[in-house]
């Protein structure tokens, strides 16, 4: 019953309310929806932010991005919500969805470009290229990618005695949610010259108390959510499992903004530098 009412696409595009410009210059979509914090950062870093018309909830940097309409969480996008902001192009981090919404965008003839994810410097460079190509500005992408790659190249994070780092995502009710292998935290720790204290599982999982002791971390890294750090630290060191670790004895805790730390975008060299300094600065 739907298809019967479908009009020839060319006519529809010519008459569509906001689609008029598309026929003039297909390569330059002027209404871009950016999904995913790192994608949005890259769009800003490319200087193409004027073309952004909306963003998702995870896109909170730079601060100006927060002024854009928010179409919701990147994995629970509402199809009509997206259409209501009239995008001509959607650039999304891998894992955005759900599938049904992406299918509707195809029906509506709106390109939905997914940017592959990854947790190392090559992945960041590849992301920048992909976003720039999607925006139709590959030369700008080349320049930014070269710049970021150069920053990566200057990083010297090698150490003789790498620190064992435990990344704690959250401590709900005393239960420690930690980062295992193949996670963003694992990637950034490695880039900063540390060793992830947890390698037994992948992704983020709750840890038993004994596993915390066994992990034997020298430093604990958490995301900086603002708030009273002194009180949080007191709670952290009071946790029986953590209190036995070297990290507790030296009171070594690093807090870095989550999007900076785990975003894997143009600011990642900066994140690596910060983390490396925090891990080894006093040595």
């Amino acid at each position: 019953m739907v298809r019967v009412l479908t009009f020839p696409m060319t006519v529809a595009m010519a008459v569509g309310l906001y689609v008029l410009t598309a026929s003039a210059d297909d390569a330059q979509a002027d209404r871009v929806l950016s999904i995913g914090g790192s994608v949005t950062e890259i769009v800003y870093a490319l200087g193409e932010q004027d073309r952004l018309i909306a963003r998702d909830t995870t896109s909170s940097y730079p601060i100006e991005a927060e002024a854009l309409p928010d179409v919701g969480y990147m994995r629970a996008l509402s199809p009509e919500g997206i259409l209501s902001v009239n995008p001509q192009l959607i650039i999304a981090e891998a894992g955005s969805g759900p599938h049904e919404t992406i299918a509707v965008m195809e029906d509506a003839d709106i390109p939905f470009i997914q940017i592959p994810d990854g947790y190392d410097s090559d992945a960041v460079v590849a992301k920048i290229h992909a976003v720039a190509v999607a925006l139709g500005v590959p030369e700008k992408g080349d320049a930014l990618a070269a710049d970021v790659a150069a920053q990566f190249a200057t990083l010297d994070t090698a150490t003789e005695t790498p620190a064992r780092v435990l990344f704690i995502l959250s401590m709900q009710g005393g239960r420690i949610m930690a980062a295992g292998a193949h996670s963003g935290a694992d990637g950034i720790i490695a880039m900063a010259g540390g060793i992830n204290a947890i390698s037994e599982f992948e992704g983020y999982k709750p840890l038993t108390d004994e596993a915390v002791s066994a992990a034997n971390p020298d430093v604990i890294v958490m995301m900086d959510r603002g708030g009273d750090h002194a009180a949080e630290d007191a709670d952290l060191w009071a946790n029986p499992a953590i209190s036995t670790t070297p990290a507790a004895q030296t009171q070594s805790i690093v807090r870095i903004n989550g999007l900076l730390l785990l975003g894997f975008g143009p600011r990642t060299p900066e994140a690596v530098t910060q983390l490396h300094a925090a891990l080894y600065g006093d040595r």
Binding site: F7, V15, R75, L83, T101
Partner: protein, 360 residues
């Protein structure tokens, strides 16, 4: 002096205590309100697109833009129809369950449908990657709803088997077994959640809250026959459920084949709820609040309660969905949150107002 004729002639005097005319009026009214709500649901949305504007364009031979077409026919239409079906099946399933268990607080969740469907969905989300490629290709993006439906269906049938001894189904045993199976599938879900990776975890959370956002014509085509078939049996259940209010033995004495009634009722609920949960996730409160409200308005006669529940359930779910997709537009609030926020306090208010009638 004028003598007054006190006998007012009426075409068909209704005896006192007869709520049937009122019930029929309420059914017509709720059907009418549902029709209005459907139109509203097609008209309201995050985008400014309006059904009326599109109709006017269409009537005056102006072409409708592709964007408007997609919003009206590929987003709002399947979503609205799905909302009607899901709302109706949740409310009717609730009413049937309550009649069967002779308990106004019974819920399809009690017979393991929801728990089983939840387990099925979680299995599909977490372990879907392990499916043989041929099956995965066949089920495609419908793997999760299909798994949810099968999970709900199988759990209900298992419970039913456990509770049936020598051809007699004990409703009490089924209820207790339902609690046990609910706990078990909760635990299994917990294990699977532990095994899940990040992305899967987020999928699980959003599935659990329930939403009509994923409604597509494809899902509608999968769910609609099941739900409609299940709802089609309910007119044949109504008299039996009325008799059952007096107890199983008395219902049998009144000529109701109670075991057959139970068979059909449980199949109906497993089918309707399983399909509804499969396409929209867990949406609470509709199944309890709607029949309750209607019993207060028109009485507990299932011949009227069941159709009225279908209309009112569909209406309430559509209204909740309209709120869920506009209140924080362009983002969307899961509908389960909306029904709980509206349903919870409203239900408490109704309970407070009607303690006399309900306290029996």
């Amino acid at each position: 002096m004028v003598t007054m004729d006190t006998t007012v002639p009426t075409a068909m005097p209704r005896p006192i205590g007869d709520r049937r005319v009122l019930a029929v009026r309420v059914i017509w009214l709720s059907a009418f309100v549902l029709a209005l709500t459907i139109v509203a649901s097609l008209t309201v949305g995050a985008s400014g697109t309006s059904l009326f504007a599109a109709l006017i364009d269409w009537a005056s031979d102006n072409e409708i833009g592709l964007r408007e077409q997609v919003i009206l026919f590929d987003i709002r239409a399947p979503r609205t129809l799905m909302g009607v079906l899901v709302g109706a099946s949740l409310a009717v399933s609730g009413a049937v369950m309550q009649g069967l268990f002779r308990n106004p607080l019974a819920d399809p969740g009690l017979v393991g449908v929801s728990a089983g469907a939840g387990l099925g969905a979680i299995l599909a989300i977490v372990l879907g990657g392990l499916l043989p490629a041929t099956i995965a290709a066949l089920t495609g993006i419908y793997t999760v709803p299909i798994a949810a439906f099968l999970g709900g269906w199988l759990t209900t049938m298992l419970l039913y088997k456990v509770a049936t001894n020598r051809g007699r189904t004990s409703v009490a045993v089924m209820l207790l077994a339902g609690i046990a199976v609910g706990a078990l599938s909760g635990a299994l879900s917990g294990v699977l959640v532990y095994m899940a990776d990040d992305t899967q975890l987020r999928d699980l959370t959003f599935w659990g809250l329930g939403s009509l956002a994923g409604a597509t014509w494809g899902k509608f085509a999968v769910a609609a026959p099941l739900i409609l078939l299940s709802l089609a049996t309910t007119p044949f259940l109504a008299k039996g459920l009325n008799a059952l209010t007096l107890g199983e033995a008395t219902a049998e004495h009144l000529g109701i084949r109670v075991q057959r009634l139970k068979n059909i009722a449980i199949l109906t609920v497993a089918g309707a709820t399983g399909a509804a949960v499969a396409v929209s996730g867990g949406i609470g409160f509709v199944g309890i609040v709607v029949p309750h409200l209607l019993r207060l308005a028109i009485g507990p006669d299932h011949r009227y309660l069941l159709p009225a529940s279908a209309f009112l359930g569909a209406t309430l779910l559509l209204i909740a969905d309209m709120i869920s997709r506009t209140i924080i537009a362009p983002a969307e609030l899961p509908i389960g949150i909306v029904t709980a926020i509206i349903g919870g306090p409203f239900f408490l208010y109704i309970l407070l107002r009607n303690r006399g009638i309900l306290d029996m």
